[in-house]
Symmetry: C2
Subunit: 445 residues, 2 copies
């Protein structure tokens, strides 16, 4: 026998129950996007390699799967993220796009790195972007879409937190603490690594930025504290002797988040940086409460990026949310299907048609199943040879069908042939005229 | 200004209206699959390269985009089709899968060839397979799923035809005409090229197979005639002095196709071969009536393939239907959106909320929009500064919203504040208590 083939390392086979989980997550993403007025877009699965060095530099190349066509001249790369494609597509259309342009996408992405828990070589990621609109209201709307999907998946503010900061507010604070402008990038990098560094290393590297004694204590206190958005960020910064005016962007975010009803999901966290250098304003991450996993989602405002790809100067704000970390969280919280496990997420058949005798099996079964399907109902039947109605009702129940229709038991009535219809949830059953059984089940299913 | 970046040749950017078309087609594919009791699956976007040489030989390699990870040892290829992944996944699970296993998938595929009309380097293809079940009924069910989706997309038997043949029936006929068994592959290849060859070349190559004079005329007549399934294939073969027993498989297909109500979509066409060598029984293609384009879909029975990938001997039947040729056909028939064009396929907003004054805009607009979205409704509002209700109603209409809700015009009533609700289809409007406007619109939308 030939050897069995394996899926490539870091990729996934989606058997029906796995696919049901994926579609369940995607459905929540799509529904939240559409309800918030976003239009779906997509781009190619691979792009010219140089599209990815525009934003990320040559360093990205080793993290990509890249290739050429045999005899071809172009080098391509499997997409590692959506933003460069989005920027390219926005730049190509220019002023003909609506203002704002509100787009979402649910593509698969690829990273040529070592697979580990929560991080695969191929994964799905939801991207949501508002392009052409600046300001806290647009930022809050983007965050509200993310929260909307998480809420639809069964999560609440006790499960996940949006941690948010603002590049300009943090830059103001760093300047106030005496950090020179040319050291801001190094300071942001230090903030970004805050949780990965030992306290001594953090203090030493803060010292290299010129922070020591009282300023270091104020810096450390600010970047390690997280405050619910509904509480006072003003109080926190005042305690560190920072004027409120420095964090006006964060104060405006509070009003905007309150207006869309999600302030209770959000905390200020001045240590949130989002490593990518291109963010210019609000930055946020969504984390499971008390989790050791990576962020469920991350994003922010990137007002300079469209221009970098050849477009007009265009404000923009967005986020990405991957399926892998989110899937682990939903699994852990028991939110992927009920008592049936993941099978509970599979589409439920409306009807399972059973033939009690050979004549019904040969004459009636397939035409009735076909009639159900033509009416837009999910209809199943057995492929086994048995005519044992008890066994077939068992198969119908295991298929999770809503109704069973039994043919061939009560065919002869003055009004015409009948079928027995059994409600597989309540167990109740009653005869129904064969001529109207599709209409009756369509009305109930 | 930096130069604009382009999508790779032969790939597509899906702007919102393009995406709406793609989702419209996918929705019909998915609905037909699920109603027929198929479960959705998927595999990785890339596989080990050698997975594709198992079935297609080394010749396939130049048609693939293949790559390695920097420093990695494995060679991967972007998937050009689904069957090898399906065979691998079936073989891996073995006897633990249900009998039959009914799977569908809607992945994207990649071919490193010259793009041309109807043929791109990246495309989407619907795959439907019944695994573990032999016989004409399973073949007919697979064809019925394809027809079900086409019907849902607005096509009828006057638009598309299923042309079907059977490898065993054709092999019987060829043997009856005196073609030796070792020449059967060459004869199938000739049949496959029938429409591409000039009559002289066809006759010459038939001669090389040992066909001449009367046998050549009988062969030519059989492979060029197409007969509606509801008419007599027996008559056609009898006219060529072939015993009916030779084409019993085709006769059985007629009963099976009639049982699922699609015989009027189908024609026998003994010239249908499907180049791929792995088909073992029924083969079929779906073509637009009178079209010059490639087939909309093609498939058949491949009972030896799962074994080739290391599984147990397993009967199987399936087809693939790509989005490109189908999209061209639907476009040509005017079936992609109505008077609004492709925009008619975009999700329609349930409600567009308008603030008639500054107070309403600042206090009421976003909370009400949020309340609509929390209730699962697709709600939009303007991002412009204007409070001109006429202009905003124009924007609401252009968004194709079902209802407009106008805040701030009739706020003060003894029963509580009110909003004006305007039905944007009928033009009728009436005041509704603000406290119940979400419930009322949710009930109608």
């Amino acid at each position: 026998m030939p050897p069995l083939h394996q899926a490539p390392r870091g990729t996934r086979d989606f058997y029906p129950e796995d696919m049901a989980v994926r579609r369940h997550i995607e459905a929540a993403w799509r529904k939240a996007s559409i309800d918030h007025g976003f239009d779906e877009v997509d781009g190619p699965t691979f792009e010219h390699l140089d599209l990815y060095t525009v934003k990320s530099g040559e360093g990205i190349v080793n993290e990509l799967f890249s290739f050429r066509r045999a005899g071809g001249e172009s080098t391509y790369a499997l997409r590692p993220e959506f933003t460069p494609t989005l920027a390219r597509m926005v730049a190509a259309k220019g002023a003909s796009l609506p203002v704002p342009t509100k787009w979402f996408a649910i593509p698969s992405f690829f990273r040529a790195e070592r697979p580990q828990r929560g991080r695969l070589r191929e994964f799905f990621q939801w991207n949501v972007d508002v392009v052409g609109q600046g300001g806290a209201k647009a930022d809050a709307e983007v965050i509200a879409v993310a929260v909307g999907a998480l809420e639809r998946l069964g999560l609440g503010p006790g499960d996940v937190q949006v941690r948010l900061s603002h590049r300009r507010a943090v830059a103001n604070i760093l300047a106030r603490l005496g950090i020179a402008e040319d050291r801001l990038p190094a300071a942001f990098e230090l903030l970004d690594r805050r949780d990965k560094l030992e306290p001594e290393a953090f203090a030493r590297r803060s010292g290299e930025l010129g922070l020591a004694g009282d300023t270091l204590a104020r810096f450390d206190g600010l970047v390690r504290a997280t405050v619910p958005v509904s509480e006072s960020i003003e109080g926190l910064v005042r305690a560190a002797a920072i004027p409120e005016a420095d964090v006006i962007d964060l104060v405006e975010m509070r009003s905007a988040l309150e207006a869309v009803g999600i302030a209770d999901w959000c905390r200020y966290d001045l240590g949130i940086v989002r490593g990518l250098a291109y963010y210019t304003g609000t930055v946020f991450e969504i984390h499971a409460v008390g989790a050791v996993e990576r962020a469920v989602a991350g994003g922010g405002r990137y007002d300079g990026l469209i221009e970098l790809f050849g477009g007009a100067p265009t404000p923009a704000c967005g986020f990405g949310m991957g399926d892998v970390v989110l899937g682990l969280l939903l699994e852990e919280r028991g939110l992927l299907g009920g008592a049936d496990g993941h099978a509970g997420l599979l589409p439920r058949p409306d009807v399972f048609v059973i033939a009690a005798g050979s004549e019904a099996a040969e004459q009636l079964l397939l035409p009735l199943v076909t009639e159900f399907r033509r009416a837009g109902l999910h209809a199943r039947h057995t492929y086994r040879a048995t005519r044992n109605v008890g066994k077939l009702l068992g198969e119908a129940s295991r298929s999770r069908a809503r109704f069973a229709v039994i043919l061939g038991q009560e065919l002869e009535r003055p009004e015409g042939p009948q079928a027995m219809v059994k409600d597989l949830l309540s167990g109740a059953q009653r005869p129904v005229l064969l001529a109207s059984v599709v209409k009756e089940i369509a009305a109930t299913a």
